[in-house]
Structures are given as C-alpha cells and as structure tokens.
Symmetry: C2
Subunit: 346 residues, 2 copies
Amino acid sequence: MSKTPVTSLGEFGLIDLLTANVKQYDNGTIKGIGDDTAAIDTGDNITLLTKDLLVEGVHFNIMYTPLRHLGYKSIVVNLSDIYAMNGTPTQVIVGIAVSSRYTVEALEEIYEGMKLACDKYKVDLVGGDTTSSASGLFISVTALGKVGKGKITYRSGAQSNDLICVSGNLGAAYAGLLILEREKEVFKANPQAQPDISQFSYVLERQLKPEARQDVVELLQQKGIVPTAMIDISDGLASEVLHISKASGKGAVIYEEKIPVDMQTATVAHDFKIDPTTFALNGGEDYELLFCVSQQDYEKIKDVESISIIGHVTDNPAQTDLISTSGNVIPLRAQGWDSFRGENRE
Amino acid sequence: MSKTPVTSLGEFGLIDLLTANVKQYDNGTIKGIGDDTAAIDTGDNITLLTKDLLVEGVHFNIMYTPLRHLGYKSIVVNLSDIYAMNGTPTQVIVGIAVSSRYTVEALEEIYEGMKLACDKYKVDLVGGDTTSSASGLFISVTALGKVGKGKITYRSGAQSNDLICVSGNLGAAYAGLLILEREKEVFKANPQAQPDISQFSYVLERQLKPEARQDVVELLQQKGIVPTAMIDISDGLASEVLHISKASGKGAVIYEEKIPVDMQTATVAHDFKIDPTTFALNGGEDYELLFCVSQQDYEKIKDVESISIIGHVTDNPAQTDLISTSGNVIPLRAQGWDSFRGENRE
C-alpha cells in the first residue's frame, strides 16, 4: 500500500478525497458535505448540523489559553457556522477527551466557559460524551440550528454584480495569536518577565474568546435582507472568498482599501513587519461573516456601522482578484491556516 | 485550586458534576442530558441527536484494530443510540483528528468503513471536520435520527411488572477483546507466532465490527410493540439495568439463567476462568438493546427468536437484583467499563 502523507493534500483536498462517492438515502437531506453546515428538511423548518474539533497543540496551546475561554470558543466557533447559514443555533452536544493530567477542576473550567457561551447565545447543551485520552485535550462540539425554508443561505447563491460584504474587522484574531506566541517565547527565556500586554487586549480577546455574529444575522433580518451567499471567516478572507466563488461558479473582485482592519491589528502588523492586509486575507479565526447581497439592497446596507462593502461578484469564475490600494490586480490565493501544515501555506 | 483526579468520580459522576445547572432556552428541546440521545421537537417528528467518541489507546488499540472496522464501528455505536430511542438514524457527521503517522491511505480505510456502515444502515454522511492531532487518532461521530411523537422510548418509562427483555446475546464483545489482548501479548513475546484465532471469529467480529439492532426496532414496530423503556447495552447489562431503574424510579429483578450467552463466549469465559455471566453483566460494547414491555405484550414477544425475557420491573427502586441460577439474590452493581479507570470497576 502506498503511503501518502496527509500534508500533501491539505484539509480541503483530503475532505474531497475521503468523501467521494458518498451516497444519499434520506429524503430530508437538502445539503450534505460542502457548506458551513449540513441542512435537513425536518418539516416546518430546515435543521442545520455542524461540527468543529479543537485539538490541543493544533488549535490551541494550553500554555496561554485559559480553559474557560477555550470552552467558550469551542461553542462559539460552531454557532458561527449556524449563523453563516442565516440560521439560529438551538442545541449543542459536546465531546471531550482528556488525558490524566487534566483534573476535575480543569474540566469544570472548560464546561463553565461552554455554559457561559450557551447562556449568551441562548442555546441548549443537550448531551455529549466525556472520556479519557492517552495524551492531550480534544474537544468536539456539534451544533444544531434552524432556519426558515426561504431564508437559508448557502455558499453557492452569489449572483453577478452582487455586493460582497463583511462584518466587523479582520485579522485581529491572528494579531492576538502572534502576541501570545511572542510572549510565550519571552516567558520561556525569562520566566520572571512580567509582560504588559494590556495594550493588546482587543486582539487577544478576539483570539482567545471570539464571538459569533448573531447580531449581524438579526440585523439582516430586521432590514429585510436575505444574503445570496454567506460563509463565516474561519480560514482568512481570501480562502472564504474563493469558497463562495467556487461554490457559486462566479468571480469576485475585492478592494484592499475597503477591507476593515482595527487600529490595534494594524499596530501589531507593523510591529511584526507584516502588511495588515495579509492578516486579514490569511489570518483566520475571525469568525466574522462574509456575504453577498443584491445591488438592490445597497441602500439598506450602505450605512450599517458593523458592515463593510468590500467588493462585488463578477461573471468570470476564473477571476478572483484583490485590487490593491495602489491599483495593482492581485489574484487571491487560499493561504489560510491549515491544521495539516501547521502554518500559513506559501 | 484543588486538584481532583478525574478517576475519583468516574464517567457518570463527572457528567453529573459538569452538566449541573445547565439551562434550557429552546422550546423544542424535549430531552437534554441523561438518555441515549437528546430529543428535539422539529415539527412533524422528534429529531434525535447523539455523539460518541472513539479514542486511540482508550477505546481501541491500533495494533489489532483494522482501520476499516474502526470506521464502521464508529458509525454503528452512534446509530445504536438512535435505535435505543426507538428511532431511525438519518444523518451522521464525522470529526477525525489524526497524527502525522497516519497516511492518506489510512484515512481512506477509516472512511471506507464509515461509508460501508452508512450504506448498510441507509444513513447519510453529511459533513464533519478533519484535522491533525499532536498524537493519536480521535474519532467523534454525531448521529441524527427521527422518531414519531408517540413512539419515542426513553430510559425513564418502565412500569412495575413490565417484562425486561434483551436482544441477541451478551458478553461476546468482551470475549473478543480478551482474545485480542491475549494474542497481542503472544505476538509481543514471539513476533513469528501464527495464532489460529479462527475458532473465535464470532466474538472477534462482535468486538471489532459490531452491528446496531435496527432489526429489533423494526421487529417491535411490526409487532405493534412500543417499549416502555429502552437503552443500548454499551457498558454491560448491570449498568444498563441500573440506568433504567434509576431513570424510571423502579426496581428490577433479572434471572441469571435467562441471560443469553453465546457458546463461543462461554468457551472464552471458561478459558479465562471467568464466569460467563460476568462477561454479560460487566463486559460492555455488546450494542444489544435492553428494553421493557408491558405484560400485555407477552404473547407478542415470547416467541421472537432474537429476544429473551430476562426479568421484570418491580415497585421498589432500591431493589435491583440478579437471581443466580442457584437461587441466590445478588444486588446488581455497575461494574461496567469506565474509560477514566481503564478497567472494570471493582
């Protein structure tokens, strides 16, 4: 048998390979693999189903991740996928595997964070599985949600000339990660060091305790806007624009000057001598929403504070470009974080 | 902060502690923590939701577990929970974390087994998450199912004088595990050894590639029987009888001579100088169904080949006894397998 390393495919290539030839039996299955969530017709509504894993040493470093925040984040990243379908999360189910170095008190911290997120987003924790592991901490959360039949938003519905919008600001979570990694090295070199990282509190919180954009989904509903396509930004803006483009069979043009970046993110980027746009395009873990709306909705959306219009959809699926501030046309590439490669792809 | 080892509580005590004070927000949540699955009212039907983890070095030893079987089993153990609610599984969603020593081909083997189980049970694989791990293989499967509103069967519905029934036979999976563990030691001592384990093929298959009792749920439906309570046998008969007893607030009496044990299981028990009844009571991983039916259903169920009537429900919740073949009354204890203790509890 040949031995192909998983790194040679990357996450998306691997999923394509593994899930080839999956058959469908249940008439209720509307959407299987290939969107933020699966979608199942359950009568009155569509039921949404999604799962995200958080793995120690891959998705988080226990050295600088408060366990309560980790529990909180493990719920939020799943709810984000439900919102990305224009849905409302309703239940979560939690699997945790822990090695013997985790105490009952450590597990209680994780669960406190999970319950805090459930309380904030009004979601029910309805079960799960708790077991031991040979080494490390693994958290597997599955979220269930619902959405009206006329309101579900796939990645695949973008139409030519639609406006491309993004919520909040991008790159902050990656900025927070870089600060944490830098402080870890400082601490390793000098355990007595007392770093002042309070000036980075915003980007640190974006990394350690992100929120899902429930407010944006509610705002769109209030304004009577059903996006034509939507996805949450977990792997960086570039990767997500390419997902929508591929799923919709359309092109996209986005403008660097329109990409929202917080001042603190820009400061960190400057410290690390990296272009802030690179943080936004490839940083990942922002859990903002990227969505497309019809041009007819322009008046409704143009003055909404937490939403930026960053580009538009084009006819040509081969065209997915960034127009730089200086006017250069740069093809977008998915350089987002890939757990199998452990670093940004080059 | 105090440091309580997880082993001091065991799985069920830990879950009780961690999920204390869980609030409920969604009107659709009918059943949260505390049964084989969660149950959610989704209009026409009740949607069932369950999750089971399989962790390398805890739930399986990669040395003697064919990856295809492992994938198959990871699906089946979840479907078993759906059947235990008298439901029909419809979708599964899969999370896998693997270390770099697993190749693409290894993952393909696991997925082949998963797809085989999905094909056999007519269930849709609708998504998931695939990621790397720092060490080891973790599989987290979530199953979704449905059941009619008048047909859902909880652990809590047993009534006094109900008949206690079990499908198939018990202890076989544990017998298979003991054979595999013994052969592993033989192999370690002498890698050239060519053991003949074909005589144990039935119990080995029960351990490595178990099936869920879809047929039993269908049979009950054909006979017009809705069990008053049901649970799948994953931790041994004793543990499951106690679960039904506690949830229903009733007692139970079961008869040793009525407990179905296969001849091959008995042979292995004899080889290991262990009472076969101990295998059945405490072995676990049988994935048979334990259920209660009204005495009025006796005529319908008494001659069904794959079902044994092993006892009855009593009024007194403090009475959960095994009547031994020699007539002794032995209180049942949950000595089933606990991942946090790594061995049968004593």
